[in-house]
Amino acid sequence: MTPADAASAEKWNLRLYTAGQSPKSLAALANLKRVCEEHLAGRYSIEVVDLLKNPRLAKDDQIVAIPTLVRKLPEPLRRLVGDLSDTERTLVGLQLRPRQ
């Protein structure tokens, strides 16, 4: 049984932290949507947090790098940094694929 199967019934709650409409942020969102559609179709929600609008959240959620993707659910909380262009590492980071 793969981790993906184990989590197949769960609802995924993802939050992407950006700072304005930078190319890296836009790339991250596009990459994230692609991965989700492929692996989590119908059971994910993506919330985009623009830190330029909500600077306080950077402190509250311990954000240093941008973009940062946080998997709020399922637990445990996972943190991915970067524009998610490395699909392999993105999947590993989200625990949709076991670490090689």
Binding site: Y17, A19, S22, K24, A27, A28, N31, L51, L52, P55, R56, A58, K59, Q62, I63, V64, A65, I66, P67, T68, L69, R78, R79, L80, V81, G82, D83, L84, S85, D86, R89, T90, V92, G93
Partner: protein, 479 residues
């Protein structure tokens, strides 16, 4: 090391730290609106210096500050400085201080592509803007290198960060851990070019000493020496004493030595106020008695006297001196005489001197007795001692404090040679020694030198009686 050019026409604006001594050696504080790098090994006091810079900025200079901690949480920081009387929580409450703990843990970070540190910038900006901070501390930004793998990116972001701080106009203190070959492990000095301060904590023969040095300070004259500093219950303090200056105001006023016979030998009037007096002699020749007389006399006149005893406890000293008719106790009770005892080896020489410096600042004595100064010498190497004594004498003279030091010489040595080359700094030098006359061993005292007065050249017999010290002429006695 590159030496800075001397004074430039226009003085750089400075942000005072409020830290005792540091503002003096930096000529008024840290470069305002610019970053300063504070580096040193673990436990050297970087974080404390940074914290105090913010706390004093907020409380004394009306400049709110932001503390960006990469290592300790806000709670830990508050706890660390609570014993120094700094209440960080209250400052945060009053919007004079903002604390943000930036946690960077590589194990929790999966890197999946390109990123930058805009999140950190947002946090810095928010911390600064939320309270209108004029000062900021980053302690220590090098932790970023432990959390992220892309070093080239980190370096370009650091460059951007320092530009950002300058644009914000905040006076920044960046701490960094001392590296093996550079001032900091990650070469932060490359980015901070305005001011670099090095802290050092070394242990020499089990005695620890802390030193501070301004490695560079662009556009400012600064002390280039290593200065000792102290961390105690009042925080950070630097002993800012510069090299010997010979432009002290001199006094023509005379103060009694407390021994009428000795005053008589000194032109009938005693010591000069604000002069330095050295009483040297072999063991048991009565140095402490002479010092106690002086302390007693000073206090009797109603002037404050600080007596530092390094061999006896205050009670012991009081009892022993009572036996020769010098009662110090009433003056101690009145508060004009302060007896302070400590073991010389307990601290390094610097620590003692910084402490003396502080006690003098608090107590503001007219006279000080250090009994004996030789014990200082035992805790340090000769060159260090000389430099430090020089500084101390300089400091005391600047304050017009009459200083009496006793010094124990070993019997085998020529009595007129001191281990420390302080002779040139001493104005009045009294030598005491045992004299064998026939079948009797007596004590003798003579004035080796006394600047600015015609003094006796006679060797007098030194008698300790129940009514104090007397100096009897030996003329006419059979040799």
């Amino acid at each position: 090391m590159k030496m800075e050019r001397p004074a430039q026409a226009r003085a750089l604006p400075k942000a005072p730290t409020g830290i005792e001594g540091l503002d003096e050696i930096t000529g008024g504080g840290l470069p305002k609106g610019r970053p300063t790098l504070v580096c040193g090994g673990p436990g050297c006091g970087k974080t404390l210096l940074a914290t105090e810079f913010l706390v004093r900025g907020a409380t004394q200079f009306g400049e709110p500050g932001a503390f960006i901690s990469f290592e300790e949480t806000g709670e830990e920081l508050a706890q660390n400085v609570r014993s120094l009387g700094f209440d960080l929580d209250a400052l945060v409450e009053d919007k004079k201080l903002a604390i943000d703990h930036v946690r960077v843990e590589r194990s929790e970070i999966e890197e999946t592509g390109e990123y930058d540190l805009e999140g950190l910038f947002v946090r810095l900006g928010f911390a600064i803007d939320s309270i209108g901070a004029k000062r900021i501390v980053l302690d220590t930004i090098e932790s970023l290198f432990g959390g992220f793998t892309n070093e080239a990116l980190l370096r370009s972001e650091l460059r951007r960060l320092f530009r950002f701080l300058k644009d914000k106009g905040v006076t920044a203190v960046i701490t960094g851990e001392r590296g093996e070959r550079s001032y900091t492990r990650q070469g932060l000095e490359e980015y901070v070019s305005d001011c670099v301060i090095l802290l050092d904590h070394r242990v020499n023969e089990q005695v620890s000493t802390r030193r501070i040095r301004i490695v560079k300070y662009r556009g400012t004259v600064h002390g280039t020496n290593e200065y000792p500093f102290l961390i105690d219950e009042a925080g950070f303090s630097v002993l800012p004493l510069s090299g010997l200056q010979l432009d002290h105001a001199v006094s023509n006023e005379r103060v009694s030595s407390g021994v009428p016979d000795l005053d008589e030998m000194l032109d009938g009037k005693g010591y000069y106020r604000g002069s330095s007096i050295l009483v040297s002699g072999t063991a048991g020749t009565g140095k402490t008695s002479l010092a106690a007389h002086f302390a007693h006399e000073t206090a009797r006149r109603g002037e404050r006297c600080l007596y530092l005893a390094f061999e006896e406890s205050p009670q012991q000293l009081i009892r022993n001196m009572q036996s020769i008719g010098v009662d110090l106790e009433p003056f101690v009770k009145k508060g004009v005489l302060k007896l302070h005892s400590s073991r010389p080896t307990l601290h390094g020489l610097e620590m003692h001197l910084v402490q003396i410096h502080k006690m003098v600042a608090q107590f503001e004595p007219a006279a000080i007795v250090i009994d004996p100064v030789s014990n200082f010498i035992d805790t340090s190497t000769a060159i260090e001692t000389q430099a430090m004594l020089l500084r101390m004498l300089d400091f005391l003279k600047g304050k017009r404090i009459t200083a009496l030091f006793t010094h124990l010489t070993s019997g085998a040595r020529p009595t007129e040679a001191t281990d420390v080359g302080v002779s040139s700094l001493i104005d009045t030098w009294l030598l005491m020694r045992g004299i064998e006359t026939g079948s009797e061993r007596t004590r003798g005292l003579y004035v080796l030198k006394s600047r600015g007065m015609p003094h006796s050249k006679e060797i007098r017999e030194f008698l300790i009686t129940p009514r104090g010290v007397q100096l009897k002429t030996m003329k006419g006695r059979k040799k």
